[in-house]
Structure formats: structure tokens, C-alpha cells
């Protein structure tokens, strides 16, 4: 989210629509998704399962499932158009400029290859360097992400590492190519709570040290508060609200954002958890292909008005950075 409008964003997504091609008419998985990321900032994308967060990430790096395609919109990265880019160019960008860390570290590493080999591969792809140089980079990266005994770890296979360690390896692998953009898709969801905290700290430290630009996808608003500068809230394939982290967490405007915040348990020390009210959001995200022309949150919305179901709400700009898509004037006050 542009804090300063004139600065050119590292990543700028405009009206991105992604379709799932299946027998019959294609259905949209993403519709008119727009947001941007300034260099050096951390942007969190939040929303319930199935909202299209991962698909957004896949669109950026050019790794959409074969059944999906970008129907319209622009993605520009460092001034370069990615939607029209060749497969070759996208591969080059993945190797050198955009790195990803995934949700499940238990399955994201090749079980038949040593850690060292997998790191080495990434470094060679990024720099076209010799294997010796790549091993050096791999080792220093492993040490940087806080893996004890890194030299001997290089020889080991993923199965001998814990989930937390594997996620550190994934982060090392992502960072060893000195990417301009790091995309982390729920990097802590599959980990124990204590390990989650360690990985978040690590990401925060690395971000500060290397002034990384990070797009982090998460369900966890705690992660948002901890790490993010800006937040994009997605619902059923659309961006419903976006803004600075304080704007979203302290003065949320969209009923969905509010519901999401209300559904997050907050534990205060010395207080039994049940004292703090938290409400689940009733109902579920509408399925692909069963999304009407109106506001997609309408069926679950406590503030829905006549007209919400008929046509999609317009996007309203509240501040320079805070944008919300809701027609309820009351909400927007």
C-alpha cells in the first residue's frame, strides 16, 4: 500500500482476474485483485481458507495450476510486466528475484536429496556459480537462519530434521538467492506454536537485517500484528479491504475484517480465556462458481442492506492507504 503515492512499487497488481477452466464456462478464482508492495515493506494477505491467497501468490511467480489462467489484469514487478512474460523469463525471475517459502516444511523438501544439494541447486540457479561457491553460499545461509551444526546438516536428508528446522532450511533456500521479493505462504501454519514464534522472529530479524520485501500469507492475525506493515484482506477471490497494519487492526471498516478480528481469540495473562469474547463467523466462503454478482460476503454479513446482493460494492478510499469495498455508509463512518 503506497504510503507515498509517487514512489514506484516493487510489486504492483492491478485488477487481476484468474479463471479456473473447467467443463462449461470458466469460473473466476480471483476477481479484480489489486494491491501493491513497496520495496522493503512487509505486506500480509489474510482471509479464510479458499479465498484465493495462494492462487494470488502463484499468479505472481507464474506457477498457476495448469487448469487456471490469468484472464485479465496486470502484475508488474520491478517495472516489468509479468502477465505477458515468457515462461523462460518467469523462470529466470523465480531463480533470481522472487523466492517462495511454503506452508508445509515436512513435504516441501525433496526426501531423496541432501539439504546441501537442494540449497546448492538454488544458489546455482540464482548466480550461475560453481558448485563450490554454491556450497559456500548454502553453508553461510544455513548459519544465518540459525541452524546449529550447519556443516554436518548439509550432508543430511530432510527426514532427519524437525519441522522447524526444515522451515529454516526452506527460508535459507529462499534467501540464498538474494531475492527482491520473498513470498511466504503460511510459513508457520504447520508448526508447533512455540516453533511458530521462532520462525516469525527469524523472519522479522532477517527482514530488518536484509531489508527484505515480504509478501506473507497467513490466517493468523497475530502474525500480522507482529510482522506486517500493510495488510490486504481477501474474501472469496476479492480484496475487501486493505491498508496500513494499524488502520486494519485498529479501525477496520469492512464487516468481514471486523468479523475476522472478532473471531481471533485474544489471550491476556491473568485472565481466563473465556472472559474474552470471540465470535466465529457463521456460514462459509461461497464456493467457486456459486458467487453471485453482488457483494460476496452478503450472505454472512451482519450489516447487509438491500442491494448488497444485487451488485458489487464500489471501492472507497478512506485515507491515502486505506481502501475498503463496502456499500454500507454506516460501516465506513
Amino acid at each position: 500500500m503506497a504510503q507515498t503515492e509517487d514512489m514506484q512499487a516493487l510489486l504492483d497488481i492491478r485488477n487481476l482476474t484468474v479463471n479456473l477452466l473447467r467443463s462449461g464456462a470458466p469460473v473466476d478464482v480471483l476477481q479484480d485483485v489489486s494491491f501493491s508492495i513497496q520495496a522493503g515493506r512487509v505486506v500480509a494477505v489474510v482471509g479464510e481458507s479458499g479465498c484465493g491467497k495462494s492462487i494470488t501468490a502463484s499468479s505472481i511467480v507464474g506457477l498457476l495450476p495448469p487448469s487456471m489462467q490469468i484472464a485479465s489484469g496486470q502484475i508488474s514487478f520491478d517495472g516489468e510486466d509479468l502477465v505477458g512474460a515468457s515462461e523462460r523469463r518467469l523462470r529466470q525471475l523465480r531463480a533470481k528475484s522472487m523466492a517462495m517459502v511454503f506452508q508445509d516444511p515436512m513435504t516441501s523438501l525433496n526426501p531423496l536429496m541432501t539439504i546441501g544439494r537442494q540449497l546448492q541447486e538454488a544458489a546455482i540457479m540464482a548466480f550461475g556459480c560453481s558448485t563450490e561457491k554454491a556450497d559456500e553460499i548454502a553453508l553461510s545461509m544455513l548459519q544465518k537462519v540459525g541452524i546449529p551444526d550447519a556443516v554436518s546438516r548439509l550432508q543430511e536428508y530432510p527426514h532427519s530434521l524437525s519441522g522447524g528446522m526444515r522451515q529454516r532450511v526452506m527460508i535459507a533456500m529462499a534467501l540464498c538467492r538474494k531475492p527482491k521479493l520473498l513470498i511466504a505462504d503460511e510459513p508457520t501454519t504447520a508448526l508447533d506454536v512455540t516453533i511458530q514464534l521462532q520462525i516469525l522472529r527469524l523472519l522479522a530479524d532477517l527482514q530488518a537485517e536484509l531489508s527484505l520485501t515480504i509478501l506473507i500469507i497467513t490466517h493468523n492475525l497475530g502474525v500480522v500484528a507482529e510482522l506486517a506493515d500493510d495488510v490486504v484482506v481477501m474474501y472469496a477471490g476479492k480484496v475487501v479491504e486493505s491498508g496500513g497494519v494499524d488502520e486494519i487492526l485498529k479501525t477496520p471498516k469492512h464487516p468481514y475484517t471486523r468479523a475476522l478480528l472478532a473471531a481471533t481469540p485474544r489471550f491476556a495473562i491473568g485472565q481466563p480465556p473465556e472472559r474474552i469474547a470471540f465470535k466465529e463467523i457463521k456460514g462459509t466462503v461461497p464456493e467457486l462458481g456459486k458467487r453471485g454478482p453482488g457483494c460476496r460476503f452478503e450472505a454472512r454479513c451482519p450489516a447487509s442492506e438491500p442491494g448488497c446482493a444485487a451488485s458489487a460494492p464500489e471501492t472507497v478510499r478512506i485515507t491515502a492507504s486505506h481502501i475498503v469495498a463496502c456499500r454500507s455508509r454506516e460501516m465506513l463512518q
Partner: protein, 323 residues
């Protein structure tokens, strides 16, 4: 380090012992014995004469005693004597095991290689015309009865066109040596190996396709792609090795079945191997020989399984750790 090896050897010895015992019991549960056959053919039904023969071969002893003798002879690697061929069983087997290994080895390894290639190509071009073609061919190969295929090949390529020989391992009367001999054997090998191998080719192609597709959908493939690796590098370096694990398992499981299939194929193509020897031993009621062949075949299957286990530990570090 030593302990697992000892356990393994111990377990192996027990397995082999069990196989020998089952072998022995199966053969001895069939009505009649070698003496009946000999006496019947000699036209002598004199009870005194048969009793004498039985005593000579130890067939008058109670079953447990015979089993004990059989087992102790096995320990000295003595498989007994074939009265049909007037030769020790071990020598008969030694003369026939080579051609069988050549046939089964060519058929299985050829099927493995071609099947994995076909399956991988099909998987990497999923839902293309090529994929459909390979899948249909594999299905046909899977469903074609082996003896029928053998006969059709003979009719089409040997009898009709005379392109390839359909009988024996060498041209009869040929005295070729060196390269000419090798070519002669290879020409004779084509039809029986194709007949025996087609089914296995189909099996491996189907399995390889499925497991490459499965491997390609794994998370670590997404990781590999996100490194900017090209499609073929992802396929060969990351997916294929993982996909080969189930194929290797299938390969070792099927070796025994392929030895069984060799009996039919060797009979159809007059291939001078163990299978045909077994076939003859059955029709001639040459029990010692049959018992010997069964035992040796079991040892072969066990050896192949051990080899696969070993290969598995080479490919898969997770198993290496456990072993």
C-alpha cells in the same frame, strides 16, 4: 552394525528352510513316486523289485526321515539325482539356468526400461494424444494373454514372413562362434523375450505413469519449480527418482511370477531353459528334478528380492536410516 546383518541372515536361513520343507511336502503329497514311474515304464510290476528300488532310494523310510535326509543333502548342496536324464540334478539345472536368466532378464529389464520411459513420457504430457496412445497400448499389453501373443508372433513373424526364428536358442546345426553366435542367439531371443516382456512392460508403463504423476503433484516439486528449474530438470532430477521407488518394489515382486511365465514361453518357443526343464520334469514325473528346480527358483527369487532391498537403501535415505 553387525546385529541387523545377523538377524537378516538368520531370517533368510529360516525362509530357505521353510521353502525346502514346503517343496518336499508338496512333491510327496502327489500320488505315486519315482519307483512307480520307473517300474511302470520298464513294464515290471514285480512287488519284490519295486520294494528293492524303494529301499535303495530310501523311499521306504517314514516321511520325516526322508525329509531329514533331503534337508541334510541340501545343506551339502546335493539336489539329488535325475534317473530320467541319468545326471545329477544340479548339473541339469546348471546347464539350463543361463538361458532362463537370459530370457527372463532381457524380458524384465527391457520391460522395465521401456515401461519407465513410456510411463514418464505419458505422465509428462498428461492428457495429450501421446499419453492416450501409450495408455491404450499399455492396457492392451496388460490384457493380452501371454501364450496367445506368443503364438501370434510366431504366426506373423516366424511362419509367415520368416523374419525371426521361433524355436530354440540357436539355429540347429549351426557352428557359428563369436559375433555370429551372439547375433544368432539374439535373433532367437527376440520373440520369446517380447512375449514374456509385454505384460511386464504394460505393468511398468502404467505404474510409472501413475507414480510420476503422483510425484509431480508433491510439494517438493513446487519447491523445485519455484527455484526456476526448467521442466525437464524438475522431472528428471526431482520427480523421477521418487517415482521409481514403487516401480522397484513391483519389479522385485514380479520376478517370481516372470519365472513362472517363462515355463509357458519356453514351452512355446522351445527355449532350452529351466522352465522347459520343469515342464518336462512334470510330464515325466521326475520328482527329484522338479524339486531341485523349484528350490533353485526360490533361491533366485530370494536373491533378487535381497538385491532390490539393497537398491532401495541406495535410492532412499529414509530406509537407509532404518536399516
Amino acid at each position: 552394525m553387525l546385529r541387523p546383518v545377523i538377524t537378516k541372515v538368520f531370517r533368510l536361513a529360516i525362509t530357505i528352510g521353510m521353502i525346502a520343507i514346503i517343496n518336499f511336502l508338496v512333491i510327496h503329497s502327489t500320488p505315486g513316486d519315482a519307483v512307480d514311474v520307473l517300474a511302470g515304464e520298464a513294464g515290471v510290476a514285480d512287488a519284490g523289485y519295486t520294494a528293492e528300488l524303494r529301499q535303495k532310494f530310501g523311499l521306504d523310510q517314514p516321511l520325516p526321515v526322508q525329509l531329514f535326509h533331503y534337508m541334510s543333502r541340501l545343506l551339502q548342496f546335493d539336489l539329488g539325482y535325475s534317473f530320467r536324464h541319468n545326471m545329477p540334478v544340479i548339473d541339469l539345472i546348471a546347464g539350463r539356468i543361463g538361458p532362463t536368466m537370459l530370457l527372463v532378464g532381457t524380458a524384465l529389464f527391457g520391460a522395465l526400461l521401456l515401461g519407465v520411459v513410456a510411463g514418464t513420457v505419458a505422465a509428462s504430457r498428461q492428457n495429450s494424444l501421446l499419453d492416450y496412445t501409450i495408455s491404450v497400448l499399455a492396457l492392451v499389453g496388460y490384457a493380452t494373454p501371454m501364450f496367445w501373443l506368443g503364438l501370434m508372433l510366431v504366426v506373423l513373424l516366424a511362419v509367415g514372413g520368416g523374419i525371426l526364428p521361433a524355436s530354440g536358442m540357436t539355429t540347429s546345426g549351426s557352428t557359428a562362434t563369436g559375433l555370429a553366435y551372439l547375433i544368432d542367439v539374439l535373433r532367437h531371443l527376440v520373440l520369446p523375450a517380447v512375449t514374456l516382456g509385454l505384460f511386464y512392460f504394460a505393468t511398468y508403463a502404467r505404474l510409472a505413469r501413475a507414480s510420476v504423476l503422483d510425484a509431480l503433484s508433491q510439494d517438493y516439486i513446487r519447491t523445485a519449480r519455484s527455484k526456476g528449474l526448467a521442466g525437464h530438470t524438475v522431472l528428471f532430477r526431482h520427480a523421477l527418482r521418487n517415482a521409481l521407488l514403487p516401480v522397484a518394489t513391483m519389479f522385485s515382486l514380479q520376478f517370481g511370477a516372470a519365472l513362472g511365465g517363462a515355463v509357458v514361453v519356453e514351452a512355446v518357443f522351445a527355449w532350452p531353459g529351466l522352465g522347459r526343464l520343469a515342464f518336462e520334469a512334470i510330464s515325466q514325473r521326475d520328482y527329484n528334478l522338479l524339486q531341485g528346480i523349484l528350490f533353485m527358483s526360490s533361491l533366485l527369487v530370494i536373491a533378487i528380492n535381497l538385491l532390490t532391498d539393497f537398491l532401495y537403501t541406495v535410492i532412499d535415505p529414509r530406509i537407509r536410516k532404518r536399516a
